[in-house]
Amino acid sequence: MKNKLLLATIYQFRRKSNLFNIFFIGIFTFLAILIGSYHSSSVHYMKYDIYDSFKQKTLIVTKSQEELEMEGITLDDVREDLNKLKHVTYVARFASFRNYLHSSLLEKEKQNGYVELYASNNSILPKIVKGISFTEENKYTMICPQNFFAIDNLEDLWYMKKKDGISTKQLLGQTIPFEYRSNSGMKTYTIELQVIGLYKNNRYHVDENVCYVEESILEEVLKNQYADDFDDENGVSNLVYQTDFAVQIDELENRSFVEKELIDKGYSVSPMSKVATEYFNEITKKMNNMTFGILSILFLFVLLVLQKKYKEEKKQYQLMVYLGYSKKDIRLIYHMSNIFNIIVSCLFALLISLVPLFLFYKILDIYPFLFHKWRLIVNYMPVLTVFIVSFVASFITSIFHTFYLFEDEND
């Protein structure tokens, strides 16, 4: 067997056409890897950045103050009405749904100490990986991301590395004092929040670089911010006019349904963040077609290559008959030489795919948030597909071709 393997492999590199075939099959496999990787990365992006993103699943729902007065309903009535809707998981007044607060304790060389806070509850929090979720005992708590950067300028994040962020070991359990001012700037307030839990986030997911608190915390902050913010004409706090609500939905696919329900109820609705998923679905579909196309062409190419290879090597196999090799031996050697060529092609494809991968990660190293919404998933499944397809093609052609090597014209 060792000798047959030797015959099937060593001399393959001496035939220029084999090198050519190895190169071309390698290039095709590499293209399939690229397309497969783009497809996998798109699917990953779609899943984690869109379908699982809470901002994609949040609607801003509005009835103006005038409308509320005309209908004789209060904000609490609206909240109750919204909570009753199917597929709605959380409702919060939009003004107290989100806020930016500053802590000098979190200031570092590359961070200005600002934290984006969002209202949440235990039923919709992301997965906690360390610590605990909200408790009844203490409402002045927050849940922060594992990879955490206290900065509000997203562009600056492009140039930051993981070590520039907040150490999560130090963060958990720590009480962070936040300072903020009233809208007029005349009054200063402080609120202290203890970090009780860390949630799982991707280091490149800037949108998830947020901390979660209970809604009552942001309501308190909001009330203080509007403490000296009045509508002089009507003598009421301008907070009264903040009648928007944030409505979170269970699944992105239900967003259209909830939007329609809300519109039918007379609300104005806009998504907090909306990505044209149709665009990505279209791209993914085209990628699927391209992958299928590339693999089909590759399959045909492999068949042609095996045909050509057999024609070039046929005399050598006939010679082997004279030299005392049995049909079975020759068939095996032919098959092994084909598989060897395919393996080398796949290894070549893997090798050249490392170049753009290396470049991509090198760029990411310099500009880590350049592709902050995009995580590269390298898909090597095409290599396995190519190998299996080629193995089957080679097996079939080896039986077919070697049959004719030994045709006896005897009846």
Partner: protein, 228 residues
Amino acid sequence: MVLEVRNISKVYRKKKQKIEVLKNVSYQFEKGTFYWINGKSGAGKSTLIQIIGLLLSPSEGSILIENKDVSTLSDKEKAEIRNQKIGFVFQSFYLNPLMKAYENVMLPMYIHSKYSKEERKEEAFRLLEFVGLKDRVKHFPKELSGGEQQRVAIARALANHPNIILADEPTGSLDPENEEKILTFLKNLAKEGKCVIVVSHNPVTKEYADKILLMERHTIIEEKSYEK
């Protein structure tokens, strides 16, 4: 006696027509003898060589190699006999262009082989020296002349020290000078005890032959010795 063919016939059927290629051929071949099989085209010479070489099955009759009937053996067993007992030399040399001279010589040694890796190489080098190509062992066939390539082919035929050498038009592609060299080699092999069977149209072959077999009408019609 190293080889015997008994009542060998070969018939092909094309549509409903019977084509007789060999008809009741019987002969005993001895060691240490150079046989020249001669005859017109279509007499059945190449078919006889193919049958002796166990590459074709006869329609009737049997073949004995070293007193053992080999005509009914399996493909694998016939392949082993070809590898160990028979060496082939062809008109077009039939060397593997991707292998160097010594690698071509080693080719029959890879299977059913008693040689280790080092012994294979040593034996190949020795055989190439024997055929006068000591300085060309690492050359590819395209770097060798016609005569040199045929000598490599002869060395390859001797790789497993067979007792029978079958040569089908071994000088067909060579100039007169190389013809003489090749025929001399084959003659020397016969002198060393091998049974050398040469099929050829080349009349020069008769000067080297111990026995001349004339084939006509699909059978051996005459056997004679060459008188110098």
